[in-house]
Amino acid sequence: MSLIKEMTKGFFKENPVFVMALGLCPALAVSSSIENAIGMGGAATFVLLCSNILISLLKNLIPSKIRIPCYIVVIASFVTIVDMTMNAYLFELHKNLGIFIPLIVVNCVILGRAEAFAGRNNVVKSIFDGIGMGIGFTLALVAVAFFRELLGAGQLLGVNVMPANYQPILIAILAPGAFLTLGLLLGLMNLLKKPEAD
């Protein structure tokens, strides 16, 4: 039961992007289409899961003074694996995500979970935490991408969904649209959260 809770806390209650404001760069940069968002989310989830497992296994061997560089090396190794695999099998997606794949290394969500969770908990818990946070990150990316792709291109996953005479709001797919969409989504979430707090 508590394992399920470790996992689902990442979806909404401790969502890395919306609640903790971590991993903002990829959340804005690759959310111009749902396809990119899912690709990025998948890559980050894989790295998060693997690094969580390895770090929680190694936590007693790593001296606490140099733990951050050690975590970074572990994360960077998995990022290299993802980078090379995607380049080989998902070339188109790899090209779209571009520089943001090597930049998963400095995604604060992953280092944040290593420091705050995997370095302090056992492997099983860390696995569930990694999966949950990864899915939460992906959900946030998809949520932003949903609105940007819908408004900016009139499409969802590349399929036209808007009426034929719909004029795409181009700004939504450009850089400013990313900031505006995320800002308004955060505001909306605050608005919906209000009644529970009282």
């Binding site: 700004i171 850089a175 800002g183 605050n190």
Partner: protein
């Protein structure tokens, strides 16, 4: 590529924060006060210049000749982490006043994706050694400019009547969106 072209392109047309989406965490996190924004900006310019210099040398004199290009990500991030640590120690010893001003921001810079970003972009765009260094400087300046503008705006925002649910982070993003819109005016400049 001329220095002027490189400068305009790195500062305005391809601004790291507003067009390339790099370095957003410090952009949102450290832009509450003007003083700390200036401190952070200076530290970033410094580290980005050093990182561009050293990563270019590593790429062209170690990774390329020995066929180790697949180690790029690991090599670069370790270099940057070491560099930041080293810079912190040197400044602490040599210039305590500067350390007091920059000290708290230095450790944060390791995980600033703009620093790793500028290193990788230098290599991807096959810039020469001098161009890489200049690109590092100008990208840092571009980052600092938008960080300082943002801090100034947010200080004034404190007095504005913002709806409760939009207070804090949400309104900052909307503000960043409006700034990005202004910077979009530079897009497509041909120099």
């Amino acid at each position: 590529m001329g220095i002027f072209t490189l400068a305009i392109s790195a500062i305005f047309i391809n601004n790291f924060v507003l067009t390339r989406f790099l370095g957003l965490c410090p952009y949102i996190g450290v832009s509450k006060k003007l003083d700390s924004a200036i401190g952070m900006g200076m530290a970033v310019i410094f580290v980005m210049t050093m990182a561009s210099t050293i990563t270019w040398l590593i790429q062209n004199y170690i990774l390329n000749p020995f066929d180790l290009v697949y180690l790029q990500t690991i090599a670069f991030i370790l270099t940057i982490a070491t560099l930041v640590q080293f810079v912190e120690m040197v400044i602490q010893k040599m210039a305590p006043a500067l350390y007091k001003a920059l000290g708290v921001f230095l450790p944060l810079i390791t995980t600033n994706c703009a620093v790793l970003g500028v290193s990788i972009i230098n290599i991807n765009e096959q810039l020469s050694f001098v161009e890489s260094i200049l690109h590092g400087v100008f990208a840092g300046i571009g980052f600092t400019i938008v960080l300082i503008i943002m801090a100034g705006l947010r200080e004034n925002l404190e007095k504005a009547p913002v709806p409760d649910s939009m207070k804090g982070l949400p309104i900052s993003f909307v503000l960043a969106g409006l700034m990005a819109m202004a910077f979009l005016g530079f897009a497509g400049f041909q120099i």
